[in-house]
Structures are given as structure tokens and as C-alpha cells.
């Protein structure tokens, strides 16, 4: 049994402008100890999707449909109080993008850690404090005995993110969600944080979901990748497979728009246009408005997930057996070998 199984999850926001279908029917699974990357442009609904898992969606948003099974328990059936007591923090923990603003500026790092530990484990103040120092040490904060009593603004950006990770580890969660964990950091610090994630994943034996728009992060730490576009998952595959053999035209253009050290400038082929609004998404396939190989059916049929028996799913009509057309005309990508991926050009 997988650790987490999400089926047909739908999270909508009911705004005055209309219903925003931020997450519109996504499915994925996660095995214990596995790490999954969810990639996509900003606005694709990645963050909403993972926050839905923990029931963190607030007015005017709501999880309207779907199933989230965590260790066999249906999370959508739990009450707010049960989620708070039993899931948040102690089973699933989250690391936010901007640690600076995710930590409360008027409390010391230590008191915030201690509060979380006490709330979720029922340890005493002294025990919790000892544990907090241990955690800070684990995530690589020097002099944890002293620095525990400092305020977040006294920490550097990288250390703030490490403190956030310490908080995530505080109650031995089975799943850590990292929501753009390195986006706000300097490139030089990013690598250290990613190393830390890999390290703790091993030592604490947790699963991790990385939400990111940065394929470099995915390459570094993820076993498997799900590509999201406008509220839907368009392709899921193990990282190497996805990288070598991207099937969905969106994934292809994503990989194309990655600047690699050996790519010349004319080789860069960014995705054209901007993502449409979630209020009135295109009919049929949502990517069709920007898809270079869209055909008539794309506006009429919502592509199902095509599973060719391997671990590689794609939601694109090009892969329908009834599709009279030939294999999709992949556009030529510049030979890249093992070039490192750095990020989308829209960043």
C-alpha cells in the first residue's frame, strides 16, 4: 500500500469573478521513502494541490471533490480538529517557500520550535527545548544552544530555511511537503538546502513532495516527477525517463526552455504565450491554446491519462490509439547530453 494516494482531487476557489478551478482532478501516488516532484509554472495549482492534502485551503477556497488516502486513512473525511491533532505537523509537515515570512518575527526560533514540539508530542518544556536544540544541530545550524534564542531576523536566509526544516522534522512526520523550498534563496545556498533534504530524507526515513518550477531542483532530489498545467497533471514519470523521453508537448517545451550551459541562445525555445485564467480554462485539453501540435479534437475532448504499462503516464490525445495521426512531431531539441537544468525562462 502506498503512503499517499490522491484521486481526482479538485480544489476550487469561489471568487466574485467566478470559480477558479485551481486544482481540477489530479491523481498521484507516493510510496514510503519516495520523493516526488510537482513541477509547473506559477499559477498551475501546485501549491494549492499540496495544501489541499493537509486541509490548509481557506475561504473562499474548498476541496470540492476527490479522495486523499494517507496510510489508508481518508483525510477528506477527517474533521478540522482531527486534521489539526493527528495530521498536521506530526504526520505531514510542510516547508514554505519564504522562511523569512513563514517564521513569526516576534518570537524566537526556539520558542516556535518548542511550541510545535509540545503541541504535537506532549513533551515538557525542557524536553522540547532539548529536542529543538538537537534538531537545529541536525539541520546544520552552528551553535544551536545559543542560536535557539535568537529571532528569525537574526538568521541568514539559508539558516531560516534550515530552521523551517527543523520545524518540519520536529515530530517525525512520514511526509514532508517542500513548497518551493529554495526559490527564495541565493543559488549558492540552494545546493546546501537540497543536500540537507536528501540527507534528512535518508536519516528520518520520510517521503518528500517537492513543489517547484525549477527543473534543477527536480533533477537533484526527485525520484519521480508530475508535471502540472492549469490545475491538471499532464504527465507523470520517473525523472530520468521524463527527461529522456518527454511525451506531453508541455513537458517538451518546459525542457526546451531550460537554459543549459551548452545550449546556444538560438536553441532556446520558450513556451509561447501565458497560461490562461483558471476561471475560464480552455475547453478540452487545457494546454491546447499554447500547444504547437494541437488539432481539432483537443478542443472537444478532455484527454484521459494514457498508461502504456510502464510508470510513465501522459494526458494528451496524441497518445490515443484511435488517434489517426502519427507519433507527435517532437520538435528538435538541441543535444544536451547531461546538461544541468536551471529553471524556466519565465522565472
Amino acid at each position: 500500500m502506498s503512503l499517499l494516494a490522491v484521486e481526482d482531487l479538485r480544489t476550487y476557489f469561489f471568487t466574485p469573478e467566478g470559480i477558479v478551478q485551481a486544482v481540477d482532478g489530479i491523481d498521484f501516488e507516493l510510496e514510503a521513502g519516495e520523493s516526488l516532484g510537482i513541477v509547473g509554472e506559477s499559477g498551475a495549482g501546485k501549491s494549492v494541490a499540496v495544501k489541499s492534502l493537509m486541509g490548509l485551503i481557506r475561504e473562499p477556497g474548498r476541496v470540492v471533490d476527490g479522495s486523499i488516502r494517507f496510510e489508508g486513512r481518508e483525510l477528506t473525511d477527517l474533521s478540522e480538529e482531527q486534521l489539526r491533532r493527528e495530521i498536521r505537523g506530526n504526520e505531514i509537515a510542510i516547508v514554505f517557500q519564504d522562511a523569512m515570512s513563514a517564521l513569526n518575527p516576534v518570537f524566537t526560533v526556539g520558542s516556535q520550535l518548542v511550541e510545535v514540539i509540545r503541541e504535537n508530542t506532549g513533551r515538557t518544556e525542557t524536553e522540547a527545548r532539548a529536542r529543538a536544540i538537537e534538531l537545529l544541530d541536525d539541520v546544520g545550524i552552528p551553535d544551536p544552544e545559543q542560536r535557539i534564542d535568537e529571532y528569525p531576523h537574526q538568521y541568514s536566509g539559508g539558516m531560516q530555511q534550515r530552521a523551517m526544516i527543523a520545524m518540519a522534522l520536529a515530530c517525525d512526520p512520514k511526509l514532508i511537503i517542500a513548497d518551493e523550498p529554495t526559490t527564495a534563496l541565493d543559488v549558492t545556498i540552494q545546493a546546501g538546502i537540497l543536500d540537507l533534504f536528501e540527507d534528512i530524507q535518508e536519516r528520518y526515513d520520510t517521503s518528500v513532495i517537492y513543489v517547484t518550477h525549477d527543473l534543477g531542483v527536480v533533477r537533484e532530489v526527485c525520484d519521480r516527477v508530475a508535471v502540472m498545467y492549469l490545475g491538471k497533471i499532464v504527465e507523470t514519470a520517473p525523472y530520468e525517463e521524463l527527461y529522456r523521453n518527454p511525451k506531453h508537448p508541455y513537458t517538451q517545451s518546459l525542457l526546451n526552455s531550460v537554459v543549459t550551459p551548452d545550449a546556444t541562445l538560438d536553441g532556446i525555445d520558450p513556451i509561447e504565450g501565458t497560461m490562461p485564467s483558471g476561471v475560464s480554462p480552455p475547453s478540452g485539453c487545457r494546454f491546447r491554446t499554447r500547444c504547437p501540435v494541437a488539432f481539432d479534437e483537443c478542443s472537444r475532448l478532455v484527454p484521459p491519462r494514457y498508461d502504456d504499462g510502464t510508470d510513465h503516464d501522459v494526458a494528451c490525445l496524441l497518445y490515443d490509439e484511435r488517434n489517426p495521426r502519427d507519433e507527435p512531431a517532437l520538435h528538435e531539441r538541441p543535444g544536451r547530453g547531461d546538461g544541468s537544468a536551471e529553471g524556466f525562462t519565465d522565472d
Binding site: 491533532r85 513563514a102 513569526n104
Partner: protein, 316 residues
């Protein structure tokens, strides 16, 4: 952290402002119409008395000499003598300080906790019925003229229902029960607008805080909603409130004039009013100065409180 030096520097910064206040009041009061001697001694003063007065106050000197004298006396802590009360302004003010301080202290004591509770309530129910109601009540509170409110309270509470005495003042030390009865309406009058303003501030500040990322963090780590509200948000939301609390001193001092006048409370506000009517200018200057000092110190204190609550503020 250099806190002592910070306080010292702030106190030094107050000096030029006070100097300005002294100069302004001096200039204003010496622009007074009429001959002060005649105003205070009647239309036909005895020459002896008039001379004494002129001698004492230096009315025969040129204005700049009077100004320098005025400054010198103030530096020595001498606020001058009151014409009408025939006693030093400082001792007069000391006598009248009790009621005003009691009134303002009680007003803060009532307004602040109520305002915070209601403000948090409104923010927690943002855009629901309770919030809309509190918003309207808040607007109504700041729109109510306090003198009107005072009169209506007297009419309804003291006259129609005879629940409380209409006016007067007894020190709480002398007769606590009677004192409390007499203070209910004045404090209610003074605290209404103050509370409404603070409540609105708390609400908007809380709404902002509840959108902060660290609130989402707290929720994501299973912190109970009540603690999210009162520990994590409120402390941050209080920051802008503290500044307002200091600035409200000015508002309350203005209010004390009206409330003390209507409820016949022998405080500094009433003393100011009475002295201004008869143009007893040393008292007017003395009280104005005192109010300004009180206000400036109040603002300094709130700035210190701000720095205490917000660790990011450094004293520099």
C-alpha cells in the same frame, strides 16, 4: 542595546518641540486683546494693586524682555501665578490633576481591552455578519460627538431612570462607591470614541496579520486556532495599535475639557476652560505646556513599548 542612550536621545529631541510650544503659547497669549490689568482687577483697579501686578508680571517691559523672563522662570520650574485663583499655577495644577488622571486612566482601562476583544472578534469573522455589525458600530462610535453623548447619558440615565447622579466628582480614595457612580458616565463618554477607533485598528491590523505566512505555518503545524489568533496574530497586530494608543492621549486630553465641563469634574480640563474664559494666561500656558509634555512622553513610552514587543526594532 543602548536603550538608555536611545531614551536620552529621544528626551533631548523633545526639548526643541517644547521650546516651540512655549514660544507659540507665549506669542498667542500676548496677542490677547485688552489690558490684562483691567481684566483681572476690574475696570477701576486701585493704583497700588495695579502697580503690584505690573511689577510682578513685568507688563511694563518690552515683549522680548517678558519672553526671556518667561523662559527663565519656566527653566526654574516656575509656571507663574494665577490671577483668578491667587496661587501658583503649579500648585493649582497639582490640585486638579487627580480627577483628570483618574478619568483618562479609567478610559484607557475600559477602552483598550474591550476594543482588542471586539477587534479580534471582527477579524476572526471577517466579512461575516458579526464583522459587519462590529464595523458599523465602530464607525458609529467614532462619529458620535462626545458632548452630545454626555448630554444624552445625563438625560436618560440620570434623569429618566435616575440610576446615577448626573454630575460631580468625589475622589475614589474618599468615597469609592460614590466616586464610582459619578465616574461611570464621564468614563463612558470619553471611552466610546476611543474604543471605537482602537477596535477598528485592531480589526484591520488583525485581518492583515491573519493573512501572514507565519499564520499559515502555525496552522500547518497543528497549533490550535485560538492560540493562532491570540498568540501568533495578536502580538503582531498590536504593533500599530501601540502607536495609536500614544497618539490618543492628545484626543483624550481634548475630550477631558468637554467631559469635565459637562459633568462638573474639577480637573485640569475644566481648569483650562475656566481660565481661558477669563484669560488667566499663566494657567492657560501652564496647562497647555503640561498637556504637551504629557503627550510627548506618552508617545515616547509607546515607542519604547513598540521596540519591546517587536524584536526587529533596534535603538538607533
Amino acid at each position: 542595546m543602548g536603550m538608555g542612550r536611545y531614551v536620552l536621545r529621544r528626551l533631548v529631541q523633545i526639548v526643541p518641540v517644547l521650546f516651540g510650544v512655549i514660544t507659540l503659547t507665549f506669542v498667542l497669549m500676548h496677542a490677547l486683546p485688552g489690558d490684562p490689568v483691567k481684566i483681572y482687577l476690574g475696570l477701576e483697579p486701585s493704583q497700588e494693586l495695579a502697580d503690584e501686578l505690573i511689577e510682578h508680571y513685568g507688563f511694563d517691559q518690552p515683549l522680548y524682555v517678558q519672553y526671556v523672563d518667561h523662559l527663565t522662570r519656566l527653566l526654574q520650574g516656575d509656571l507663574g501665578r494665577s490671577f483668578t485663583h491667587r496661587q501658583p499655577v503649579s500648585s493649582l495644577m497639582l490640585e486638579r490633576m487627580g480627577p483628570t488622571v483618574t478619568l483618562m486612566g479609567l478610559s484607557y482601562l475600559v477602552a483598550l481591552p474591550t476594543a482588542i476583544a471586539l477587534g479580534v472578534y471582527g477579524a476572526a469573522r471577517h466579512n461575516r455578519a458579526g464583522d459587519h455589525a462590529s464595523r458599523i458600530v465602530g464607525l458609529a462610535g467614532i462619529s458620535t460627538p462626545n458632548f452630545w453623548l454626555a448630554l444624552m447619558l445625563i438625560y436618560v440615565v440620570a434623569y429618566e431612570f435616575q440610576l446615577l447622579p448626573a454630575s460631580g466628582y468625589v475622589s475614589p480614595l474618599e468615597n469609592p462607591v460614590q466616586s464610582a457612580k459619578l465616574l461611570v458616565m464621564p468614563v463612558a463618554t470619553l471611552a466610546t470614541a476611543q474604543m471605537a477607533l482602537l477596535m477598528r485598528m485592531t480589526r484591520s491590523s488583525m485581518i492583515e496579520e491573519l493573512r501572514a505566512d507565519y499564520i499559515e505555518t502555525a496552522r500547518a503545524y497543528g497549533i490550535p486556532e485560538r492560540r493562532v489568533l491570540y498568540r501568533h496574530s495578536l502580538r503582531n497586530a498590536l504593533l500599530p495599535l501601540i502607536t495609536i494608543v500614544g497618539l490618543q492621549l492628545s484626543f483624550l486630553l481634548s475630550g477631558s475639557v468637554i467631559v469635565e465641563e459637562i459633568f462638573a469634574i474639577p480637573g485640569m480640563g475644566r481648569l483650562f476652560f475656566d481660565s481661558l474664559v477669563v484669560l488667566d494666561y499663566s494657567v492657560v500656558i501652564g496647562i497647555t505646556l503640561f498637556f504637551a509634555v504629557l503627550f510627548l512622553i506618552g508617545v515616547l513610552l509607546t515607542d519604547l513599548a513598540y521596540a519591546y514587543i517587536d524584536p526587529r526594532i533596534r535603538y538607533d
